[in-house]
């Protein structure tokens, strides 16, 4: 059985995996699951606490909070996951070519990565969103650039260690070309640690997306995102605290679940030492 499924057999992996499956399904099938529309305003119905009609209450426009939370999962998950995918792809290409070709390319990549790596992602993302402009596309690009350094670094380190291994030497002596070595031997071997750390980074990206959303830079109203909901909620914190409590809980629980499942996966794949080398 493959590792992601085996990780589900560990108790913490099972609980975390279940939550993640739930959230992903909610995001995918949002229109089928929600009793209300996310953007229909019902002003007389505003600021309702939790009730039988509105399980999590309503916001300042009388919109159903559970509905918006489920649609919010759609935005938050898709933006974070897409951003990290872009980041992983570019990071792997950059890191692998830096490690493989060495020389001035490696020096430039390493220096740039080291420099950006010590800057907090939130700052990098804030500046980039300011350049690109707010909205989901801007946030997506900003997040992917913010995490680029991490994946470039990790891929580069993996390839560097693999480069010295005998099976690579053997393949090279048999006349394998650069492309063949990189795509058939090196990258597949570096893949597991990079993908697992990508998964953990998706958790961080969800927080980052929420933070940008909180500053009003994410998905623009009326499209709900978890960060955007909290942005609106922060003004209502005294009047209707539930508007901010539930999206925050959704973020925290989802990120905890990603971390727990990631831990189970790391244990299952037995790659803790390969990840730690780069911590």
């Amino acid at each position: 059985m493959i590792a992601p499924l085996r990780a589900l057999r560990r108790p913490q992996g099972a609980v975390a995996g279940l939550w993640l499956i739930l959230v992903i399904c909610a995001a995918l099938f949002a229109p089928l699951l929600t009793p209300y529309a996310y953007d229909i305003q019902n002003l007389p119905n505003a600021y309702q606490p939790a009730s039988a009609q509105h399980w999590l209450g309503t916001d300042e426009f009388g919109r159903d909070l559970l509905t918006r939370l489920i649609y919010g999962a759609r935005t938050s998950l898709s933006v974070s996951a897409t951003a990290i995918s872009i980041s992983v792809f570019c990071g792997m290409v950059l890191g692998a070519s830096a490690a493989w070709f060495g020389g001035w390319l490696d020096r430039i990549v390493t220096m740039t990565v080291d420099l950006t790596w010590s800057f907090p992602e939130i700052l990098i993302a804030l500046i980039l969103v300011a350049i690109i402009g707010p909205g989901t596309t801007g946030v997506m690009i900003a997040i992917s650039v913010a995490y680029l350094a991490q994946f470039t670094r990790l891929t580069r380190a993996q390839i560097m260690t693999l480069k010295g291994e005998t099976f690579i030497e053997a393949a090279r002596s048999l006349g394998a070309g650069n492309a063949h070595l990189l795509f058939r031997h090196l990258l597949p071997n570096a893949l597991a640690p990079v993908l697992v750390s990508a998964m953990l980074a998706t958790g961080d990206a969800i927080i980052l997306e929420a933070t940008l959303g909180f500053f009003g830079l994410g998905a623009q109203p009326p499209v709900p995102s978890w960060g955007g909901m909290m942005s609106a909620g922060s003004a209502l914190v005294f009047k209707a605290p539930w508007v901010i409590i539930f999206p925050g809980l959704a973020v925290a629980i989802t990120v905890v679940a990603i971390n727990l499942y990631g831990d189970a996966l790391i244990a299952e794949l037995d790659i803790r030492s390969r990840l730690r080398r780069e911590a």
């Binding site: 220096m111 907090p120 700052l123 929420a210 500053f215 925050g248 925290a252 730690r276």
Partner: protein, 308 residues
């Protein structure tokens, strides 16, 4: 050691230059023209050119950069376009607030994080370890602005212990420090625990046991001393993260500081102020790496030997 320090300081010069180029050029990609804010709607092109000349925006970019860098190095950070005051004044006002907040948060994360990490490592795989590591995981997954708002809800709104916002008196610092500090605590506790456990398995620890020292003394005087080396190094590297946390938390608590200033100037497209804020944050990050290297050398004689 001294010659190393001089060399290390000289190495900062190109890093600083690279960072300054990046900061300077990035901001010229930000859309939205700050000059618009200064002109009345429908102003003549002549009036516009006049304002541009006043702020030096009519010259080619490399020249603008040269002038800017020269001014920065002499302590002149320019004039804020919106506030129409020297940027240095704005920074001088904001910086102490951020330093106080960041410093206290750093102190809090270090003390609490190391303590929790040590307890978790000593009671490894028993319930206190699981409880601490569980709490730590939770602490690192909550968005800091949300945590801040929840703390306000509990301690300011419900209990009325601390003020909701502002920067008057020490009470106003408690919740912001806690908000940033909890995230840092999680990081420190995790690193401390892992490096304690790693250090416990080292050969020399076995010999300390064979010498008849008590396990607690071995853990606290020897193992912890080793575990602290990576903790300090990583913390110094993460000074940027703590300041990054300060940015959001300052906004949540409506405190004056670099973060509030940065966010406000970003939305107003006030280049000179944004540049100065970023420069300050970048300096903090660069100095953090330097501090990390120095502390590591102070704590580990082998590193000192390698340096001289």
């Amino acid at each position: 050691m001294l010659s190393w320090l001089v060399k290390r300081l000289l190495m900062l010069v190109p890093v600083f230059l690279a960072v300054s180029v990046v900061i300077f050029s990035i901001l010229h990609f930000i859309p939205g023209d700050p000059i618009d804010n200064l002109l009345k709607i429908g102003s003549s092109p002549e009036a516009r050119a006049e304002v541009e000349a006043r702020y030096g925006l009519d010259k080619p970019l490399p020249v603008q950069y040269g002038i800017w860098l020269g001014n920065v190095l002499t302590g002149d950070l320019g004039t804020a376009i919106v506030a129409r005051r020297p940027v240095a004044d704005l920074i001088a006002q904001a910086l102490p607030h951020s330093l106080r907040l960041g410093g206290l948060a750093l102190l809090f994360s270090t003390v609490v994080g190391v303590t929790l990490g040590v307890v978790a490592a000593l009671l490894r795989d028993r319930w206190p370890d699981r409880a601490i590591m569980g709490g730590v995981l939770l602490g690192s997954t909550m968005p800091s602005f949300w945590l801040g708002l929840i703390l306000i809800l509990i301690f300011s709104v419900s209990l009325g212990w601390f003020p909701v916002s502002g920067a008057r008196g020490w009470e106003s610092l408690v919740l912001p420090v806690l908000t940033i500090g909890l995230g840092g605590t999680a990081l420190v506790a995790r690193i401390t625990r892992v490096s304690m456990i790693e250090a416990s398995g080292r050969d020399f620890v076995m010999l300390l046991h064979a010498k008849g020292l008590s396990p607690l003394r071995i853990q606290l005087r020897h193992v912890l001393r080793h575990a602290l080396i990576p903790v300090v190094t990583i913390l110094a590297l993460r000074i940027g993260w703590i300041l990054g946390g300060a940015v959001t938390v300052e906004v949540v608590f409506a405190r004056p500081g670099l973060g509030t200033l940065l966010i406000k100037s970003l939305s107003q497209h006030d280049y000179p102020v944004v540049q100065a804020c970023l420069l300050m944050l970048a300096m903090a990050v660069i100095l953090g790496t330097l501090l990390g290297d120095i502390l590591q050398a102070l704590m580990d004689p082998r590193v000192r030997a390698a340096l001289s």
